[in-house]
């Protein structure tokens, strides 16, 4: 990026600060790509930042504070923990910086807009999907990211809700740190305990691929549903290793939130809630996704 | 007996006054009586049925060979260890100390054999550790008063140093004086000194002995442990000899002489205190020219020949240790030439020095000599490990064990357990292990810094024999020693240092102690100060 020293005295160039939960996964990288694309389209400066991990709540808050200091024209934030961001949003408001929420909503009255679908709904979609594939009463194992990570909490809760609504049960929920190797280990161990289960839901793709690998090694065929939709999992679906994943359209989240921010700065009206859509990607529609 | 820790420091201040008043009014003749003390360590009976009385205000010397159990005895006295058997009476009351705080509260303190200086604290803080003085207002530490008292105490011992510097800035000799000051300032009823003079030279010893007399006059008892029998005979009122953990006997000073003590200690008489080597002086082994180290060494030049022993004498802080370290590459030098067997060499590290055939026995065995947590085998073979290797890299364990066994027999290391962790050895035996380490290397030039520090009279002769053997086999040896008789007894030539310079050279045949002392004090009889 270029430094902005020279821009200081020039007529206000629009600067959008995008703060996401972290930038260490395909999902957020795609959000970043979408945001940057929107920036290019509208000719505004877009900086996408995120802390090291999705659980680094205070790190993210510092990032937002520093963007306020930098006097950005508008902020796009995907908050790691909804309630925690309210004080800093209030500070942004004092500095007259409009705030757009992306991916995760916050009950904060002064937000300009929310862009996304919500993790809960996406999780629910996954739960319902199992209902289409499995007979009533089947049991599902859930692998999740770090305990206490609100994103994963919502996905798990959504999934449980979805499962209930179609008459399926949760066999066990175990954390696998959003990581592939840990997912392999956990599934191996669950298999050892001879627990009955017919499918696995994981709250991100990495764990989904790990679970699929462990099942493949053990010679078991089961429905594994991941989350997010990385290139790796697309390939895994094509190869028949992964059954499906929940896709939240991260590119759109990034693009539309920046688009909304630009419009707000320019004084145009925008909607309070912009839905970016959620879908299940499986063998039936994987090819069109791959093309994209 | 529990001492409430919260107010202990304030108690101490009042305790000082109490002791001052009650100095003369004692209940009985004996301050302390020990009856049938036994102490067993895993595999070792350190003390068996030892009984001993300490009179008020007497100077009581403990003598015994290395590993006889002297240090263990005093550690039981101060509550570092607890006895397995026996009882202790302090001023007529049965006591049992669980830690040094409890013994201190009854007026007992000790200078332990292994220096217990805290390198990162200032001299003052070391002296007052555990007995700090506090201001009356907020109860914060009263540095002004403590610094003043510390300074005074050290001046009384004849040293003038900056008490607000950290202890790590001073060499062992000074550190020893700091520990002594620490004991003196405590104002207790019994001070135990476990080899307080092992790093001191004659001059400091005299000052210390004078101070001990002053203590006695104040009615303070002193237990004094030393392997230097002339000191013992100079100040002790009574002498107790311990052998193999058993008390052999206690005698009045008037009944004792050196020969008798030695006989009781080792069970035989020594024919010769300073045996001499038979070697002929050969080529120059080590030539040092204009060696300089900023602030420490000035223009040091000397030659050391094959088959020769040079002794280095000097007062504490004269720079002898610094010189040895500089030659050995342990510290950087700022100029000068070192030649070994006629070839100029660059020595940048101890590794280079060893490569060129040098060996350096350090004065601080605990900090620089031994790996205390490791056993005798590991320690004694560290420098010579390469020579036990098969195929260049793999150590032949059998060979190692055989060699170590041999060395342990030769040096009479006790207990003779090669797998014994060196931390558990008595001070003298630790010293022997360090010597073994350097015997194991194939050196031709040996620098021994205080080689007999803490070694008993019998073993000393063994060390001298060993040095002589090395010399007879063609080695060249430097001995740095603060014991004048030793330097004079075993070296062919004596170099004297003062403030980093060589101030005198003597042949051992014609020199007198006075001449050496004069050179050591720089010719004039001034109060030596920390440079």
């Amino acid at each position: 990026g270029s430094t902005q020293t020279q821009t200081q005295k020039e007529p206000e160039k629009i600067k959008i600060g995008v703060v996401v939960k972290a930038l260490n996964s395909d999902f957020w990288k795609t959000v970043e790509a979408g945001a940057k694309a929107a920036g290019e389209k509208y000719g505004v400066e877009v900086k996408v930042l995120g802390p090291n991990t999705e659980t680094d709540v205070t790190g993210q808050i510092s990032l937002i504070e520093d963007q306020v200091t930098r006097k950005v024209s508008a902020l796009v934030v995907a908050p790691s923990q909804a309630a925690s961001t309210i004080p800093v949003f209030n500070r942004a408001k004092e500095a007259k910086i409009p705030v757009i929420l992306a991916d995760t909503d916050v009950a904060w009255d002064d937000k300009v807009s929310f862009v996304g679908t919500g993790n809960f709904n996406a999780g629910k979609l996954a739960g319902e999907y199992f209902g289409k594939k499995l007979p009533k009463g089947s049991k599902i194992v859930i692998l999740r990211g770090a305990l206490g990570d609100p994103t994963h909490d919502e996905r798990v809760n959504g999934c449980i809700e979805g499962l209930k609504s179609v008459g399926l049960e949760v066999a066990v929920t175990q954390p696998a740190n959003s990581e592939r190797a840990m997912a392999v280990t956990v599934i191996e161990n669950i298999l050892q305990s001879k627990q009955e289960f017919a499918g696995v839901f994981t709250t991100n793709d990495e764990m989904g691929l790990g679970a699929a690998k462990a099942l493949e090694d053990a010679g078991k065929k089961m429905i594994v549903v991941g989350f997010d939709g990385s290139p790796d999992s697309l390939a895994a679906i094509s190869a028949g290793k992964l059954d499906a994943f929940v896709a939240q359209n991260p590119y759109n989240i990034g693009f539309k939130s920046v688009e909304a921010a630009v419009k707000v700065v320019k004084g145009e009206a925008i909607e309070k809630r912009i839905d970016t859509g959620t879908e299940i990607v499986n063998a039936e529609n994987v090819n069109e996704k791959v093309k994209k | 007996m529990k001492v409430s820790t919260g107010t202990a420091d304030m108690k101490y201040v009042t305790a000082i006054k109490a002791f001052d008043v009650s100095g003369g009014l004692c209940m009985s003749e004996y301050f302390l009586s020990l009856k049938g003390i036994c102490k067993r360590f895993p595999g070792v009976n350190a003390l068996t049925d030892v009984s001993l009385d300490i009179k008020n205000g007497e100077i009581h010397a403990l003598c015994g060979e290395n590993g006889a159990g002297k240090s263990t005895f005093i550690k039981i006295l101060t509550g570092v260890y607890q006895s397995n058997d026996g009882e202790m009476l302090c001023e007529g009351k049965i006591v049992r100390f669980n830690n040094t705080k409890e013994s201190f509260s009854l007026g007992i303190t000790a200078i332990y054999q292994e220096l217990s200086i805290l390198p990162n604290l200032t001299v003052t803080e070391n002296i007052f550790l555990g007995r700090e003085l506090r201001t009356s207002g907020f109860g914060l530490l009263d540095y002004r008063k403590m610094n003043h008292l510390a300074k005074t105490a050290l001046l009384e011992l004849g040293i003038d140093i900056d008490v607000t510097k950290t202890a790590s800035e001073y060499t062992m000799g000074y550190q020893q004086m700091i520990e002594i000051a620490r004991a003196l300032i405590a104002n207790v009823k019994l001070i135990i000194m476990d080899e307080p003079t092992s790093s001191l030279s004659g001059r400091e010893v005299d000052v210390l002995l004078k101070n001990i007399h002053k203590l006695k006059e104040k009615g303070i008892a002193v237990i004094y442990i030393s392997h230097r029998l002339e000191e013992v005979l100079a100040i002790a009122d009574r002498i107790t000899v311990i052998r193999d953990g058993c008390k052999i006997g206690t005698m009045e000073r008037s009944e004792a002489d050196e020969e008798k003590i030695i006989r009781l200690m080792v069970g035989r008489t020594l024919e010769e205190k300073f045996p001499r080597h038979q070697a002929q002086k050969g080529d120059i082994a080590l030539r040092v020219r204009n060696l300089n180290q900023r602030g420490r060494l000035k223009d040091i030049s000397f030659d050391l020949h094959k088959g020769e022993v040079i002794g280095f004498a000097g007062l504490v802080g004269a720079g002898r240790t610094e010189l040895a370290r500089a030659i050995f590459g342990a510290d950087k030098i700022d100029g000068g030439i070192i030649e070994i067997f006629g070839k100029e060499v660059k020595i940048n590290s101890p590794k280079d020095a060893i490569h060129h055939g040098m060996a350096f026995l350090t004065e601080d065995r605990k900090g620089q000599g031994l790996i205390l947590m490791h056993d005798i085998i590991v320690n004694s073979t560290l420098t010579g490990l390469k020579k036990f290797c098969k195929f260049g890299y793999f150590i032949d364990q059998k060979m190692v064990v055989a060699e170590v066994d041999e060395m342990m027999r030769e040096l009479q290391i006790h207990p003779a357990i090669p797998k014994m962790t060196t931390r558990l050895l008595s001070g003298g035996n630790q010293q022997k292990v360090v010597i073994a380490k350097w015997l194991c290397s194939k050196a031709k030039i040996f620098i021994f810094d205080e080689p007999t520090r803490g070694i008993d009279v019998g073993a000393k002769v063994e060390v001298y024999n060993l040095i002589n053997r090395l010399v007879n086999e063609g080695a060249a040896v430097i001995v740095i020693s603060s014991e004048l008789p030793e330097v004079m007894g075993i070296s062919d030539r004596i170099l004297v240092m003062n403030s980093g310079k060589i101030t005198g050279e003597f042949s051992c045949l014609e020199v007198t102690p006075e001449e050496i002392l004069k050179a050591a004090t720089g010719g004039i009889n001034h109060e030596y100060k920390h440079a």
């Binding site: 090291n52 659980t55 504070e65 925690s84 206490g148 | 570092v80 700090e132 914060l140 950290t166």
Partner: protein, 333 residues
Amino acid sequence: MNTSTPEVQGHGGTQKTQFRQLIKKMGSLIGLIGLSLILTFASPYFLTMDNIMNVARQSAINSLIAIGMLLAILTAGIDLSVGSILALSTVMMGIVVVKMGMSPIIGVAVCLGIGLLLGWLNGMMLTKMSLPHPFISTLGTMNVARGLALIVTAASPISNFPTSIQFLGAAFIGPIPVSFILVLVVYAAFHVFLNYTTVGRYIYAVGGNPEATRLSGISIDRVLIIVYTISGLMAALGGLVLVGRVNSAYPLAGLGYEFDAIAACIIGGASFMGGEGTVWGTLIGSMIMAVLRNGLNLLSVSAEMQTVAIGIVIILAVYIDVLRHKAAARVKA
């Protein structure tokens, strides 16, 4: 490992000593000033009153935790449990205040009390169970406290604390954040504690040579228990500030904070071998970390590059200190 140059430990001594002490403190200060200068040139937003207060606020939590950590490091120990203690103490406060509706005073007492208790447990386990190193006891506590924080909250955050509790973390006095004032007060108190009280000096002594300390009649166990208790308390205090800052308590709070706290101490000149380190050095160490993060954020450096940059700066900051020590040693000789 490396024998460092002998240096005078803090406390008012002669003038010469005080000057040397100043120089010693200056060590990490040079790093901090250098870093600030670079950032001032690189970003127009860096040297603004607003941003300085920003940094002060952002560094507060780590500063509070680091000063407790310093005590552990001075005794040649470590406290890995600070992050988890922070989490458990704050969520318990959340339960008491928000869920059970008790008074904020009770809440704060619960928060600090739990910090105290867990720290004390760390110390007791270390000493009374003779565990070989605080790494073990505090690693255990780190896991147990984190697990408990997750259990009691059912893994979800607790929000909407009364403003009185948020005071420490969120309020300002004029332009100055209360949390930073708190840090200054706490650091001054620790300066007095470490240099002018017996227990403070014993902490240095234990780190310098535990055996000699014991022979001086000082109870090492007692000193260690005090050290870990204080460290736990400071973690809880850091938690109080955090709650004010984010208006919520959550079970994953403080994850990885132990690293930042340790880094602050070490950048500030403390030694892992024990017995060496100062209060003000630690503050500067903590400020360096905060300034660095802040600067990189202002420059909108990407997260990956930030990680790389932080790694490099940690090494450089310490290296500057090493060079300065060497230079000082040369001057003295």
